[in-house]
């Protein structure tokens, strides 16, 4: 009896619990894709993810394998052929690396850094935000002061501060992005949790003497997830952009595994001599990634917003 009430209390969709999941998901999916922008974003995202995951198999060249590089092929314009007759669709850079392959491998680094840091920031921020809302009182006051303080500084300044202290490198960039972004999650999580906290199902769970941690994780968290997922999507895009910016400034990823930002930065020195393709195409790849994620996130916000529920 007790467990049955508990499961029903866990989510507001419990009344529709008898309807099979597929019947609930299909209309939502159809609604999601009814916007052309969302469709474009999704296709873009699938292409980007596919490219990043399967880069070693679909890339024409392994840009980190020095044996495959030929210095004779350096700085070739897009569409030219290599010495051995292989076409370089997007040209080559100063070391004779194929730009297209460089982008494919660079996407991996960018996505890994972006997703990892956004996920870690989400974990930390959400935990702190939920705890603040649930515990209230002094803890909440202190945490929210910290969040306010954090949000009053621009992200790039926070990231610079972390990097100035810790030094350059990929792990430090991830840390810097986490420090710069956790507060957004904390604020969102707290805001949602404050509303949810007052609802009956939390009271019910408390009346059943379910331990606080369980209420927090199994009752409060699932019902606060929607806005957090939306924020997380957008923040992945911001994290990728921030990582690219920091790499461009020479504070970021290592030279052996260049991210998109690093590739663009490499092309900077050739730009003034008109060799545009070395920075141009990685930038386009970065743009497609960020715009696709933003379009999907924008649509997710519409779909997950309870006010828009049909």
């Amino acid at each position: 009896m007790e467990s049955k009430i508990a499961t029903e209390a866990e989510s507001p969709t419990a009344q529709t619990g008898q309807i099979p999941i597929s019947r609930r998901i299909w209309p939502a999916l159809r609604y999601f894709f009814s916007s052309p922008a969302a469709l474009v974003g999704c296709i873009g995202l699938v292409v980007v993810l596919f490219t990043a995951i399967f880069a070693p198999w679909i890339a024409p060249q392994n840009p980190y394998d020095l044996l495959q590089l030929d210095i004779m092929d350096s700085r070739l314009p897009p569409g030219s052929e290599s010495f051995s007759g292989v076409p370089y669709l997007l040209g080559t850079d100063g070391q004779g690396r194929d730009i297209l392959s460089g982008i494919m491998y660079g996407l991996r680094t960018s996505l890994i850094v972006g997703i990892a840091s956004a996920f870690a920031a989400a974990l930390i921020g959400t935990t702190l935000g939920l705890m603040a809302a649930y515990l209230g009182g002094r803890t909440e006051n202190f945490m929210m002061r910290l969040v306010d303080l954090q949000l009053s500084f621009p992200t790039i300044l926070m990231a610079l501060m972390v990097l100035a202290i810790l030094g350059n490198g990929v792990t430090n960039v991830v840390l810097a992005i986490i420090v710069a972004e956790w507060a957004t999650y904390a604020r969102t999580a707290r805001g949602t949790a404050l509303v949810e906290r007052e609802k009956e199902y939390i009271d019910a769970a408390r009346c059943l003497r379910i331990p606080g941690r369980r209420v927090l994780l199994r009752h409060l968290l699932p019902n606060c997830l929607a806005p957090i997922i939306v924020i997380a999507t957008m923040q992945v895009a911001r994290a990728i952009g921030l990582e690219a910016t920091l790499s461009f400034l020479g504070l970021g990823a290592s030279v052996t595994q260049p991210s998109l930002g690093m590739l663009i930065s490499n092309g900077y020195q050739y730009l003034l001599s008109g060799l545009y393709w070395i920075s141009f195409y990685p930038g386009i790849a970065l743009l497609i990634t960020i715009v696709s994620i933003n379009l999907v996130g924008d649509r997710l916000r519409d779909v997950l917003n309870p006010r828009n529920a049909r």
Partner: protein, 324 residues
Amino acid sequence: MVTTLIRRIIQAGFVILAMTVIVFLGVNVIGNPVDILINPDLNQAERLRVIESLGLDRPLWQQYLSFLHGLTEGNFGNSFVYSKPALDVILERLPATLELALCAMVIAIVLGLPLGLYAGLYPNRVSSRVIMTGSILGFSLPTFWVGLMLILLFAVQLGWLPSNGRGETAMLFGVRWSFLTWDGLSHLLLPALNLALFKTSLILRLTRAGVQEVIMQDYVKFARAKGLRENRIILVHILKNLMIPVVTIIGLEFGSLIAFSVVTESIFGWPGMGKLIIDSINLLDRPVIVAYLMMMVVLFVSLNFIIDVCYTLLDPRVRLDGKG
């Protein structure tokens, strides 16, 4: 009112003090400038003498106390690279950054406000849709990449504008400014445009949202019913009420323009504070890093303080002593 003000000032003071500890400890515990700054060919005795002259041999807390003492006198120690007081090195670069940020803000307002007004007044026109899509691009495009493309287009392909440096400067109030000469102005245009891109989109979207809210208000309908000319309605009734959020954002975003100028200055070789801090991080020039970070902390804490105070003065509904 006075007590809340005092409480806010004390709070701000604590924040700044806490930041001095974090910044100083972080920079000093983790980096080791001895290896980088001292010529490896020097013998041991000479090494020790240099370390002593830089004050790097004393215990950390002593270094911190003398740093704090110096702070109250505006003295952050000498830059390891320039052998000049760190604050002087930064202050020399300050006008360039301020000039860039101000120009970017002016461009953002001049472009963003009218375009946002237009898109808000005629939301269904194709041109408005184009403007709004453009503003999404403005948000999504990585600033540094746009900077490179601006250089490629205007400096390399067309050859219209220079891509590097400040150009010719002229003196005004004892400080050198670029915008007073044609050459300086041509150097200023590209970086300012680059820095303004993001803020233009922001102001544009804010203005449009504001217009759509204000246009539904009764006083606008009443003004229309009175038969006022459309120009007057737009300029007086709509624009005036729009200015409150827009001015707030302009105030808030000015600080972030200074912070983001780091990127733009690095691309365009603009000799401001942002380029300085990147160079200093790479060279581990600790006094300059610390001075820059502390200056930014003070800047943002005071900016927020001023905005808070302005809110209470302008809008009695906002109470400082309320929660959060």
